[in-house]
Amino acid sequence: MSEEMATIKDMPNNDYFLSGHGACPGCGVAIAVKNIMRILGPDTTVYVPASCLIVFSALYPTSAFRNPFLFTAFENTGAVITGIKAAQRRRGVQGNVVGFAGDGGTFDIGLQAMSGAAERGEDVLYVCLDNEAYMNTGIQRSGATPFGAWTTTSPVGKVRQGKRQMKKDIMDIVIANQPAYAATLSIAHFSDFIKKVDKAKRMKGFRFLHVLTPCVPGWKTESIRSVELARLAVETGMWTLYEWEFGEARSTYRPKEMRPVTDYLMPQGRFRHMSKDDLNLLQRWLCEKWYYHYGHEVEQPVCHINHEEKPMHFDGDPLHGV
């Protein structure tokens, strides 16, 4: 087998997710899928359920994947990749089977099929591309939408401001099924990303990768900031990078000091309305989340619960956050 990959330089230069797809400029999903496919290589069968990815990568009758590519319904990613793997076993075909589902297709609609495949320990790779709402159908809230975020189904008004629930911890649900490997990825932490995908590629059994993929129209931000936002999410603790293997979680990146959550929220129009109470609630939840993930064994980065006041002001730009 080829050498293990550790940095960008070790990545193969062949693209299997090609140019000419119809994603919005600055799409985080496209960045994640393109690099995962570079690492997985040619012996891979791809399955995509209903999501942005199917719409922009496979505009009938063209396809942006150079690999065998399959599409059926929204809710059955876990079941379909199980079936593809069974067919491969039967016919003696070697290779990885990967399912790219969105957050809606994993957290909500596809949960039972994903959970079933994980529990059976199928030999497949499941990638959840988390853009934190149903972006393809026009930004509806999902289980992955973070606290306070605006979506069309968690609107901002006098009574309620954005989503009132915290983000569902899908990694916990996956880990409860005892998979072979589970990890969270960020498109802004390159070496970490490459190592985890490469590790998952070499393993057998159910492997789950959870990628944060910023969405330019859905998060109401600028296309130039996609990767920057993924980095800020990790630096503020909104996204934690860890992997789960042999029954224990291991932190793979620990920021020295957690930056105030407003650094991450400010560039995004979907959080523009958040009140000071809501900000403090979110910040407190973030500071406690660390212990929830890692216990007290990994020292928590310094986290300021009552951070200095930074109002989410309107900066005078008429297209602020659009």
Binding site: I8, K9, M11, N13, D15, F17, L18, S19, G20, H21, G22, A23, C24, P25, G26, C27, G28, A30, I31, K34, N35, V55, F56, S57, L59, Y60, P61, T62, S63, A64, F65, R66, N67, P68, F69, I187, F190, V216, P217, E222, S223, I224, R225, S226, V227, E228, G316, D317, P318, L319, V322
Partner: protein, 285 residues
């Protein structure tokens, strides 16, 4: 949204109107279509418009790839977002035409290359169905409700400037109208469960990797410029380009494939040594 604002302006001017978008996937920068129909009597027809009296073209580069003036009546009119004057324009049919540089107006007023409100001002100049006051009122109503009063004011100003700056003339009709490839395999050729192999049928590429025939480079408004002498070969831009249009060379320097670049600017943002700068306009180096 522009079609809706136009229909609203027509209603304010005392007509009946309807507006609706083309049903399909809408992505930022992707070619999209919308329709508006105006009459003095109640409108009962519900179909798309195939033979328009007036065509509004928000991006001149669409003329190269799409039959935008297809079906335009001989006595029809056009409004085009362009840097050229109306006499220099070549739409493929010779019609009365208003030319306006709506992109510049949009950048001046709303600080973003979103031209749909500016072009409405030029549209008011071209047709007597709506007055510029009605257009501004409709924009204020529609945008003010969604984006706040400041956005409404900026967008109304864009329409006003476009109304003043639009140049009316008669355009040329020399260009052959590009016909869209109509063939798609139907369900009889490809029933559910059948595999599309890598192939090309009647000029349309199908199957694995066929998206390469779809050149997305026309979407961009800014273009990355690569300064090779500053590059430290960290490959971050190569990793972060969503389009895969940054090609890694054997010596780890980069090369851009501008046919696909959508101008998102991520490469310039992740570059640690500012070896990539974004320049306005669709360019190539």
């Amino acid at each position: 949204m522009a079609a809706q604002a136009f229909a609203e302006a027509a209603v304010l001017s005392g007509h009946h109107a309807q507006a609706f978008p083309y049903f399909g996937a809408e992505r930022r920068g992707a070619p999209v279509r919308a329709f508006a129909r105006v009459d003095d009597a109640k409108i009962t027809i519900k179909s798309q418009i195939y033979e328009p009296d007036l065509v509004v073209i928000l991006d001149e580069s669409l003329l190269e790839i799409d039959p935008v003036v297809d079906g335009l009546k001989a006595e029809g009119r056009a409004v085009v977002n362009t840097m050229k004057g109306p006499e220099e324009l070549d739409l493929g049919v010779s019609v009365d035409c208003a030319a306006v540089d709506a992109s510049i107006i949009a950048l001046e007023t709303i600080k973003a290359p979103i031209v749909n409100t500016a072009i409405l001002g030029a549209l008011a100049r071209m047709t007597d169905l709506v007055t510029i006051e009605a257009v501004k009122q409709a924009i204020s109503d529609r945008f003010g409700e969604k984006l706040g009063p400041q956005a409404a004011a900026a967008n109304s100003l864009a329409a006003e400037l476009a109304y003043q700056r639009a140049k009316v003339g008669r355009c040329k009709g020399e260009r052959p109208i590009v016909q869209r490839k109509v063939w798609l395999p139907d369900w009889e050729k490809v029933p559910p469960g059948v595999v599309l192999a890598q192939d090309s049928v009647e000029g349309v590429a199908i199957g694995p990797g066929s998206s390469l025939t779809n050149f997305t480079g026309t979407w961009r408004t800014v273009t990355p410029r690569y300064l090779k002498e500053k590059c430290i070969r960290c490959l971050r831009c190569w990793f972060c380009c969503p389009e895969g249009c940054i090609k890694r060379q054997p010596d780890d320097y980069e090369k851009w494939d501008y046919r696909y670049c959508k101008g998102c600017g991520i490469c310039s943002n992740v570059c640690p040594v500012q070896a990539i700068v974004m320049e306005k306009g669709v360019k190539e180096w």
